[in-house]
């Protein structure tokens, strides 16, 4: 009961932090897509470069988020953006690189060779093959990578509270420092709800974007 009591008493605050959390991810993901998908496409033809890029991206992922935030604060300070939303967004973008690049790469490479050869033989240019054949067929797998990144983003954003980005991390960290367990609980539950909701929403989006023929052929398998 205390849970809901807290929730209602601090309704305004809860809504604000929830939306802020969403806002950070909402800015970061499109940026991540715009960087990672083209990289994934570009390296799909060059196996050696692809290995190097994937290696680098996985190194980025091993950096603890707290360390990365610390680094951002130092690096961004000269531009007056050391605290607040910018370091949070950049960190999420960095973490999103591996899942999105990797899935794009796998999806583009995974397109049936006979299909690509048919497209070439019919006189499609490289760009036409990319946009009319490879990308539409790759959507489900790229979207899976995006969901991966989004869920991770939800948890990373929680920690971004520590660099002044606010968000649902407020309830958890303030709760801890004040020994108010109910606050921590509210924060944790909301982060969980957001993560699950995000995953579900993107799943629906994936359904919407995946061409009907691809869905039918997957069902058949």
């Amino acid at each position: 009961m205390a849970f809901f009591e807290y929730l209602f008493e601090n309704g305004e605050r809860v809504v604000f932090e929830f939306l802020r959390h969403l806002q950070i991810i909402g800015i970061a993901l499109p940026v991540a897509i715009m960087i990672a998908v083209p990289i994934g496409v570009a390296i799909s033809n060059h196996p050696k470069t692809a290995n190097v890029v994937l290696y680098l991206a996985s190194i980025l992922m091993t950096i603890p988020s707290l360390a990365l935030f610390g680094l951002m604060v130092v690096l961004l300070a000269p531009f007056g953006a050391g605290i607040g939303i910018p370091p949070a967004v950049i960190t999420i973008v960095v973490y999103s690189m591996l899942p999105i690049i990797r899935n794009t790469l796998v999806a583009i490479r995974g397109v049936d060779l006979a299909t690509v050869e048919a497209a070439m033989g019919m006189g499609m240019t490289r760009l036409q093959i990319l946009f009319k054949i490879r990308l539409p067929l790759a959507i489900p797998i790229i979207m899976a990578g995006l969901r991966n990144a989004a869920v991770m983003g939800v948890s990373v954003t929680t920690i971004a509270y520590l660099v002044g980005a606010r968000g649902l991390g407020y309830f958890i960290f303030s709760g801890l420092s004040r020994s108010r367990l109910i606050m921590v609980l509210v924060g944790a539950v909301l982060v969980g709800v957001l993560g699950i909701g995000m995953n579900y929403g993107l799943l629906k989006l994936e359904e919407l974007l995946t061409p009907k023929g691809v869905k039918l052929s997957r069902k058949k398998e």
Binding site: E117, M120, G121, M122, G123, Q128, K212, G213, S217
Partner: protein, 375 residues
């Protein structure tokens, strides 16, 4: 369009291995030429060099005398139909969009594309209203292959390249598709270059056959001539020991039946007595029995009729017989003869009217003209 290969060569590993070696050949316009040979003989390489999916390393390919180098690669491909073994249909596009790919690349008006797609679906025996908005996943293997063929014809190319287009289909449907394809080619008369490793398919479909081995041509000529006169032991072994029978498969009944058969019309000779008299006069052991409008009812034999009463009605003495139609091949005629234990087989049209007779002796005569190569 005439396509000429001049000393066409494809070398790999700096010339250490030649997939295609100094190959010269002219493909005849409006004919279906089959390239056949063991795997690795270079047949698919030749095909892919023609639409530049593989770049040649020597020689030239001429389209109506114009070198392939003077033609833009993308434009060239849009003017050549292409169908491949695994069909390569785009699973995210419906049947309509799949067929419309090349016309759209060529920027045809959408109205023209629509009527073209309908026309093509009808040509390959798919109902446009049932199938055009279906996705490849909703089609059977045979239907997909038909769409693949329709797609290769979409922009009305003069030349079509086909790389084992019926390879991935079960034998029964393959047979049907081949028959349908023969009819289609009879209508559209395209220059088709067809790669296969199935000699039966080659003999059945090809106007001309190119037999290849190690990147070179072993024999090139009209299919009938190649089957009749294999140039050497390699060609003969490729054709197989039953090449004579395969040869029968490509010959049609309509070109080989005789019309000197004996028939009795039940409307004129209504009794056994009349029929007997007729047979004895003609000194023949049997005759076909026909009814109204010359429709074949069966046959009767002298031997059987003699056991009957003179006044019995003839219609009760008719024995059933299997028949073939003019578009059937001679192999089917032999099978019918074996099934009915007879040495001849009547030929009827689609209304069952008796047209003629195929005799076993005729088939033997045809087969004995085939030459044998000493091994």
């Amino acid at each position: 369009m005439q396509i000429r290969l001049e000393n066409l060569t494809k070398a790999y590993d700096k010339g250490a291995f030649k997939a295609v070696d100094q190959l010269s050949l002219t493909f005849e316009p409006q004919k279906l030429t089959v390239l056949i040979g063991p795997s690795g003989c270079g047949k698919t390489t030749v095909l892919k060099m023609i639409n530049r999916l593989i770049e040649r390393t020597g020689g030239d390919i001429l389209f109506d005398g114009k070198s392939i180098d003077q033609i833009d690669r993308i434009q060239l491909r849009r003017q050549i139909g292409y169908a491949i073994q695994n069909i390569g249909l785009f699973v995210h596009m419906n049947v309509f969009d799949n067929i419309a790919v090349v016309p759209r690349l060529l920027k045809w008006p959408e109205k023209k594309i629509k009527s073209r797609v309908e026309e093509l679906l009808e040509l390959v025996n798919l109902d446009p209203y049932v199938h055009r908005y279906k996705y490849p996943a909703q089609l059977s293997g045979g239907q997909k292959q038909r769409v693949g063929v329709a797609r290769s014809l979409a922009a009305d190319p003069k030349v079509i390249l086909m790389d084992e287009p019926f390879g991935a289909i079960d034998p029964i449907n393959r047979e049907k598709l081949q028959d349908a394809f023969i009819d289609i080619q009879e209508k559209i008369k395209k220059t088709i270059i067809f790669v296969t490793h199935d000699i039966r398919e080659a003999i059945k479909l090809g106007d001309k056959i190119v037999i290849m081995d190690n990147g070179r041509i072993v024999q090139y000529g009209d299919t009938v001539k190649v089957v009749n006169k294999p140039k050497n032991a390699f060609v003969e072994s490729l054709l197989g020991s039953d090449r004579v029978l395969k040869g029968l498969e490509m010959m049609r009944v309509k070109d080989n039946y005789a019309t000197d058969f004996l028939s009795i019309n039940v409307q004129e000779s209504t009794t056994v007595g009349k029929a007997l008299e007729y047979l004895e006069n003609k000194k023949k052991p049997y005759a076909y029995v026909i009814g109204q409008k010359d429709v074949l009812l069966g046959y009767c034999t002298l031997e059987d009729l003699r056991k009957r009463n003179f006044h019995d009605e003839l219609i009760g003495q008719i024995q059933k017989i299997e028949s073939v139609q003019p578009h059937s091949n001679l192999m089917e005629a032999i099978i019918k003869m074996v099934e009915s234990g007879s040495t001849s087989c009547p030929v009827v049209d689609s209304e069952l009217q008796l047209l003629g007779i195929i005799r076993f002796q005729t088939l033997v005569d045809i087969m004995s003209t085939y030459e044998r190569v000493e091994v």
